[in-house]
Symmetry: C3
Subunit: 435 residues, 3 copies
Amino acid sequence: MPLSNREEEELVRVGPGTASGDVFRRYWLPVQAAANLGGGRAGFSGANNPLRIRILGEDLVLFRDGSGKPGLVAEHCSHRGTSLFYGRVEDQGIRCLYHGWAYDRDGSCIDTPGEPPDSNFKLTVKHPAYPCLEVGGLIFAYMGPTDKKPLFPKYHQLFEQEGVRVAGNGGYVEQCNVFQALHDNNLDPWHGEIAHGWYRGRPPAVTMHHGRNGDPATPIKFERTPWGTRMVVLKSTAKPGKYWYHETHTVWPAQRCNFEGARSMKWAVPVDDYRTRWFTVDFYPLEDGEPPEEALRAANSRFNIGHVENLPIDWAQQVGSWWNLGHPWRQGNLWEDEVAQQTQGSPERHFLPDWEQWHLASTDRGLALNREVWRDQIERVRQGLDPIGVVRDATDDKPIRITSDDVRDLSWDEGMRLFNMSVEERLGMVLASVR
Amino acid sequence: MPLSNREEEELVRVGPGTASGDVFRRYWLPVQAAANLGGGRAGFSGANNPLRIRILGEDLVLFRDGSGKPGLVAEHCSHRGTSLFYGRVEDQGIRCLYHGWAYDRDGSCIDTPGEPPDSNFKLTVKHPAYPCLEVGGLIFAYMGPTDKKPLFPKYHQLFEQEGVRVAGNGGYVEQCNVFQALHDNNLDPWHGEIAHGWYRGRPPAVTMHHGRNGDPATPIKFERTPWGTRMVVLKSTAKPGKYWYHETHTVWPAQRCNFEGARSMKWAVPVDDYRTRWFTVDFYPLEDGEPPEEALRAANSRFNIGHVENLPIDWAQQVGSWWNLGHPWRQGNLWEDEVAQQTQGSPERHFLPDWEQWHLASTDRGLALNREVWRDQIERVRQGLDPIGVVRDATDDKPIRITSDDVRDLSWDEGMRLFNMSVEERLGMVLASVR
Amino acid sequence: MPLSNREEEELVRVGPGTASGDVFRRYWLPVQAAANLGGGRAGFSGANNPLRIRILGEDLVLFRDGSGKPGLVAEHCSHRGTSLFYGRVEDQGIRCLYHGWAYDRDGSCIDTPGEPPDSNFKLTVKHPAYPCLEVGGLIFAYMGPTDKKPLFPKYHQLFEQEGVRVAGNGGYVEQCNVFQALHDNNLDPWHGEIAHGWYRGRPPAVTMHHGRNGDPATPIKFERTPWGTRMVVLKSTAKPGKYWYHETHTVWPAQRCNFEGARSMKWAVPVDDYRTRWFTVDFYPLEDGEPPEEALRAANSRFNIGHVENLPIDWAQQVGSWWNLGHPWRQGNLWEDEVAQQTQGSPERHFLPDWEQWHLASTDRGLALNREVWRDQIERVRQGLDPIGVVRDATDDKPIRITSDDVRDLSWDEGMRLFNMSVEERLGMVLASVR
């Protein structure tokens, strides 16, 4: 399956008017962690309100008006282009520094102080604005056509109440496009064995192998699901006769759902064509009425990586080799995935990979499936249809339970029973267990 | 009046061969503060002599030879391109480091040490050079066609003797083009009320309003003048029944003349298409035979902003939000105008604004008039005529007195008498008062 | 001889598929100092092994496997493009971090851990790799077509045994193309007098002149040689009646051979179209069985300039004027040649010179000859012939002795006898003396 640079470049572009950009603009996307945005009291403008945000190649300003609700508008004032990031947030909206034009959360122009009071001029100005929702510790926006706006999808990690929810701060930005960051990496079990195992000093082929001690090669399958795709692996473990059932999902447009009981939902949101911001919400159900230890650790951990801004585009290159532990930009997040993904491109190609030099192999079936499903969504959107997973009808507006999981210490037969289940069987099993 | 990006981009380009560049090249332009250029003694080359200068997109080297006079030549040696910034200033001119070719202030090649002494080769080399004049604390150059060189315009701020002259050091460079810095901002009274008032904590609508306490809306007019354009405003004040007469001029090609008695002349000189350097000369007449306090304050103040070099093109973006007072690049000059002007562009458009998104309103009549007058000058220059304000005939070679002014504590009738004067009446009044 | 920017730009480009790049790719080129590359013990991967290398515009990774031999391969893994700079060097080759594909020094894919053990997939993958040789303290690579690979040229500086060899560390990178760094500067005797004399405070015209004290003008000649070109000058000295015979060679593709007894060979290797890395090997024969003082000084000196990485492309511009001694990037190597060469270009032209503004004179005959010989090699390579100096036949595989020299304290007649010798006579004389 040789790739074509022309086709891949089309695939990874996400700005306004691009094919993949049009797909992203049909979903609700997280744009900021709610805790990072200040404001909320009447007339208040100050630290962290507004914030400058770049999403899908668009420069935007996020603010919280006196109602406490977030607004997301184009950065440049509709009057003469001055950045609203330097504007003042007021009770009703945001006001430009230069001539004082003010806009509310809907983009309506609500004041033009220099115009006569009887002028209707401001009614002729509509500033670009996107609807926002604050859910589960994140602020989501819908950046697509108004008449296509879907219902907000009720992922259980965002809405469930009997447990502890830990939302990351969105400070982790990868210097690569969303396909490198998510779609090529999510259904890719072997890099777990190599990059996250062997390269951490583990001997090779512990959890995956091609046949060992009488066991056949590690069973792996890739499939379509109602939400996108999934990978199922029955891994070996250090304990003879004990197996580890692992199921990870790609939820459209660019979400990783993984861990035990689908605990974690991670959104990979394109900043632009060569940067991707990660948002994450983990939901830990209570155990015996108490938050599990792991949840408390997570809530206090540095997994919530600090906000990293203004890194040069070639930062990974500048950090230097894998062993250069002391570089100040490293900040603890130059992990294996980042190095693997962020060094695929080259400066000559504006950090896009040279896909035509790639040699895809049997380990890349998950990557191929994700591309195939993505291209289907491009086609659906072109035809005016909803892409996969979009919730539109009130009858579909109910909690969404992805079937991602990790189950350990299984016998071979127990493991294979789970492995062989269809998506529908798995979903039935999970829904039964959580009711 | 929707703007067209194509037309505006043509308007703001100032390099050699551009329409607006050709207009600028028909005037004498300040290129450096005289105090910043070292040298002047025979054979002396050292600190601040030569200096590298970028004006109208051209890379130049400014030096002072043994006569004490300034020379302005192309940066790259006519031999093999080595930068003359690394050359040595000598009694007769500047000598290149590489093979020692020397040029005088006129660009004549006066030495080629490697050529035989009887060679006439050097007579075949003419290095690009522009005539310079040192006037009123600034060094001016004329960068246009020789046969179109005008007389130097005798602005009173540069030539008057009975008072104190304070010349700025030219260290203030705005990261925006000259139209953003000057032409769009100079005849724009409402941003004074909003950006320089409201945003400094003043309640809105103090000096300008749309009708208040029985007064009609603040009178404003914009007009053409013999030197360019002017704005006249009869402002309200905190004192009931007292009004403030305010008249500011745009003097072509890109000068702001303002303050009481036209005290201040400020030149906005394009470094290139996206940076503008400000030069200023204020002349304070003696009061009772003494320099006024304000003049002494100005001469000792930090208004003479330090030389800021090598800022990245997106420095305003990097400085961060309006409240980020501690950023080292801020240096005290990130004032309201700068933020308003420098954030109109975007990196995608190489920091040009996206004018097609602008919505011009009644407050933008001054901007529109300045554009109209500028386009007239493009047309005049295309036809081989002098643009506005150029002094060519000896009979016109006399002091130039712009009518800019600020007069306070006027009654409504006194104020409106000044407001209603034609440019000719105002000029007659001013000339009578200074004789 | 007016130059054409179009022709010169074609000349200086060295990437794959360019005319000059094709010439360079027909020679063995140094790519790193051997001492800079770590590794060599089985299974060892760590500090300085691998290294990232950029040569002729290609991004490469240099490593030393368990055999101790160097390998030079394309930076981006043939699987999915991850940088092998982050890979691990093992006994047999280098292994990618992401999915563990491994390559040996020949570019053969020797392991794909995720593929089934009976798969022949890895045999279908050939990773780009260039043959390497470690000679005289440098690592050389041949980056051209396999069927054109020449024998390694046995320059005496690299192979001679009875003396002291001092290899530089390759840390000196000029921010200009290889023509500015080498071909335009090597046969250019007058800049020695001016840039390296006059500008260091020496009075002008000491060693070269146009006739003085009864002597005729300094004799200079430029000629083709079997290895490229040479310049011969009979210089004057401070001692009346004593002359200095100076002969310097350009050895193809881009080597400077100079100093007494051709002691020094310096390679100018294009990093890409606007940067050039210098490698140097000096060989000092024993004197009375002892290393000469000068050799010991050189071996311990800072002439081996520290590795300078990640300088911005406009670093020379940022360092500022000639007298700005304290700039941290200066590192002692901002000498006259660098300033002269690195400031010929301008940012607008991506640091290429604007050759059409050049005025070549009689002092530029050496530059012209080097261009002429270079263009001959482009033509030869186009015709499938070997360029000049390439060693192919076993019968030619013998020590190469360039005739560069400096001989001082000669009488006029002794000097002119050497000066008037043909290249063949000089070669015979030198070969006779070293046998």
